[in-house]
């Protein structure tokens, strides 16, 4: 049995008790509210949860502040005194305050032992032992939200120096006494929000533009405009690769908002036919999106929800990842996505909380998972630069022309001048023929020189920026989902009557009904039973069981 005690904020010293997984009470009939009493307990046993109320005579249990029933100096919150103690179970909770001392809160349980003594009298007589104590605390502050009972394993060693058990560590001495309430909670409010720090502006040093396809066409035209390059080259001496001023160009599958403005590069406005490129510029770099919350409820309400279960999550641009059922089952899973506009990097965080799930006996809220990916698709940029080609061509021709002058100027002059021609002619045909051959050789050599130069510097330079990548995720689903594969247990009709369900607690046999099987039992006070009968009974209780 586990007992949850919640302090009523309005009445911290009058606790509201809530019992979970009450096994001892299941065998007993619920207490009946007597109409004539206003302070009767009502235990509503349903689906392993029972709530104890202070009920009014209308017999409708309401979650109320408990009322006190005075008896001497002890305020007792008790069940109906007319309990049938053979079939009923009783919870007694009382708070004792003496003078200015702190309150002593104690919750006792008492059930079905056939005794005719009033549970109230047993309380007064101090007949209840520690095994009946569910809760004990000294406090005048709001009560803790959870307490466990009978923690025998945290008992400290005895003070007897000859006690052999002191020689060996028994374990549990330094345990944290199942203090599951002592945990830090990481809420969704702890997740960062893109703010001025994350979206820091770099002034005009780096600017982010968003261009549509038509704006890209305008930019393309402007980049080819001679005036644009002239402005850039004039401004940036030695700038041989204007595209290097474009840091990156890519597409991302999410949108951000921005403001309209002129496209500028190096504070130069590219223009085409006198028109600038108008597009959107944005100062936003990081985008946060809460993609929703999925609560993975227990389907079977048993350990089968955690074993034989496979849970996976698909994340766009990341893929499929595994989730631990122990963490996510019975919890609300909130997926948050952070995206970087500049790089396309994506960070997913899965926030898990069971604050609203009733099945776990402690509250946990944390971010146990994070995954990263990238969603950018690079856009290759390029331009053809003929300037270097022209320069190379001029240089080559100039060098070739000098050679031509060396080889054939005289011959040309001889051909072109009358005197020379006459002389040449007068010199005879052999001189002109010799000069023509020389010219031909010189021309061929010049052509060869030009051809050689073309292979070296007569080609345009292609400037590129960016690259090409696959961005495979853009061909996949664009929404996230969780996929759960569960093994389905088979429960035959009335299976608990046949084989019982698992348990591992100590019970008084008188408090049990139905099929029962024991892991361990040592029979005492067995009357006339001989050893053989005792041994057989113990064996049968552990193997075949008994129907009580």
């Amino acid at each position: 049995m586990s007992l949850v005690i919640r302090g009523d904020s309005g009445y911290p010293d009058t606790p509201f008790f809530e019992l979970e997984n009450i096994s001892e009470l299941a065998s007993c009939s619920p207490l009946v509210v007597e109409n004539s009493r206003t302070n009767a307990w009502v235990i509503n046993y349903s689906a392993n949860n029972a709530k104890i109320y202070s009920a009014v005579w209308t017999a409708q249990p309401y979650a109320m502040q408990l009322s006190a029933y005075d008896m001497s100096n002890v305020n007792i919150y008790l069940g109906s005194p007319s309990l049938n103690e053979n079939t009923h179970c009783c919870i007694i909770a009382y708070s004792l305050k003496t003078g200015t001392d702190s309150y002593i809160h104690r919750v006792l349980w008492y059930g079905c032992d056939g005794s005719a003594v009033s549970p109230i009298q047993k309380t007064i007589n101090g007949d209840f032992g520690t095994q009946n104590t569910l809760y004990f605390a000294i406090s005048n502050t709001p009560l803790p939200s959870f307490v466990e009972d009978d923690r025998e394993w945290d008992e400290t060693p005895s003070e007897d120096p000859s006690d052999p058990f002191n020689e060996l560590a028994q374990g549990g001495e330094n345990a944290d006494t199942m203090d599951f309430a002592n945990t830090d909670l990481i809420g969704t409010a702890d997740l960062p929000n893109p703010d001025a720090t994350m979206n820091m502006s770099y002034g005009g040093l780096i600017t982010c533009y968003l261009l549509s396809s038509s704006e890209m066409q305008d930019l393309n035209n402007a980049l080819f405009d001679a005036g644009t390059w002239a402005n850039l080259k004039n401004k940036f001496e030695g700038l041989s690769d204007p595209l290097s001023m474009i840091l990156t160009a890519h597409q991302v599958p999410f949108t951000v908002t921005g403001t309209s403005g002129q496209f500028q590069i190096g504070n130069v406005v590219p223009e085409y036919n006198g028109h600038s490129v108008n597009c959107t510029r944005t100062a936003t770099r990081y985008v946060k999106t809460t993609m929703g919350t999925i609560t993975l409820k227990e389907v079977f309400g048993s350990e089968k929800d955690y074993s034989n279960v496979s849970i996976q999550i698909y994340l766009p641009y990341v893929g499929i990842k595994d989730l631990d059922p122990d963490i996510v089952v019975g919890s609300a899973c909130t997926l948050v996505c952070y995206a970087d506009l500049w790089t396309g990097d994506i960070l997913y965080m899965l926030h898990v909380s069971n604050a609203t799930a009733a099945k776990k006996y402690f509250t946990a809220e944390t971010v146990p998972y994070r995954w990263s990916g990238n969603c950018a698709k690079q856009v290759p940029l390029g331009r053809v630069d003929n300037s270097r080609m022209l320069i190379n061509m001029a240089s080559t021709i100039a060098s070739v022309g000098v050679g031509m002058a060396t080889f054939g100027v005289g011959a040309v002059g001889a051909l072109g001048g009358n005197a020379g021609a006459t002389a040449a002619a007068g010199a005879g045909t052999s001189a002109a023929t010799a000069n023509s051959a020389t010219m031909k050789a010189g021309a061929a050599q010049a052509v060869g020189a030009i051809t050689d130069a073309a292979s070296a510097g007569f080609q345009p330079i292609v400037q590129t920026s960016g690259g090409v990548n696959g961005a495979v995720g853009q061909m996949d689903l664009q929404f996230a989902y969780i996929m759960v594969k569960r093994g389905v247990p088979v429960y035959p009709l009335n299976w608990r009557k046949q084989i019982g369900a698992p348990q591992y607690q100590t019970y008084l046999v008188a408090g049990l009904q139905g099929f029962t099987q024991f892991a361990a039992i040592h029979l005492e006070n067995m009357g006339v039973a001989v050893d053989e009968e005792i041994a057989e009974l113990e064996r049968l209780l552990k193997t075949e069981g008994i129907i009580l």
């Binding site: 096994s23 001892e24 299941a26 065998s27 005009g204 780096i206 600017t207 982010c208 533009y209 968003l210 261009l211 001023m245 990156t248 890519h250 949108t255 496209f263 500028q264 190096g266 504070n267 985008v287 999106t289 809460t290 993609m291 919350t293 309400g301 048993s302 350990e303 034989n308 664009q478 929404f479 996230a480 989902y481 969780i482 594969k485 569960r486 093994g487 389905v488 247990p489 088979v490 608990r496 084989i499 369900a501 698992p502 348990q503 591992y504 100590t506 046999v509 049990l512 139905g514 099929f515 029962t516 024991f518 039992i521 040592h522 005492e524 006070n525 067995m526 057989e536 069981g545 129907i547």
Partner: protein, 149 residues
């Protein structure tokens, strides 16, 4: 000595068995009687039809009738074996033990090896309701430049 013969219709593992058709047979043992496994001979006509259970108040025990042999046409020999569950039920109830399986008081979060898992494993998918991704790529190119002004 009186021996009460009954008809028991309950499962043997039931503690407080419901007995019907009680017939008292009186007699004496003619030989040594083992309290745990007594054997006695009675007239056949005194044994009710279907009797499978007995009580010997003198021994303070209940018994299963484990054997019935007809010695003669009129005499039948009954072999008994003590039913420890019903005999010592009251003494048992004041004891405590660690319960491993129970019909009403259970913890379903403990592993249960007696519950088989079917080979069929249904797959459930749960979609997150929102996404920042707008079906492929948006229709804008993100361009980061130096000196944008």
């Amino acid at each position: 000595m009186t021996i009460n013969l009954y008809i028991n219709s309950d499962d043997p593992i039931v503690g407080n068995k419901t007995l019907s058709g009680g017939t008292a047979v009186t007699g004496t043992f003619r030989a040594t009687a083992d309290v745990l496994r007594p054997t006695f001979t009675v007239t056949a006509s005194s044994v009710p039809s279907g009797a499978n259970y007995a009580e010997i108040p003198t021994f303070g025990r209940y018994y299963y009738i484990t054997g019935m042999r007809y010695v003669t046409t009129d005499l039948v020999e009954l072999s008994l074996y003590v039913d420890v569950r019903k005999t010592f039920l009251l003494e048992l109830k004041v004891n405590s033990g660690i319960v491993s399986r129970q019909e009403n008081l259970y913890n379903m979060y403990l592993p249960d090896s007696k519950t088989p898992i079917g080979a069929h494993k249904p797959v459930n998918t749960y979609k997150f309701t929102s996404t920042p991704f707008v079906g492929g790529t948006s229709n804008r190119v993100v361009m980061l430049v130096l000196g944008g002004g």
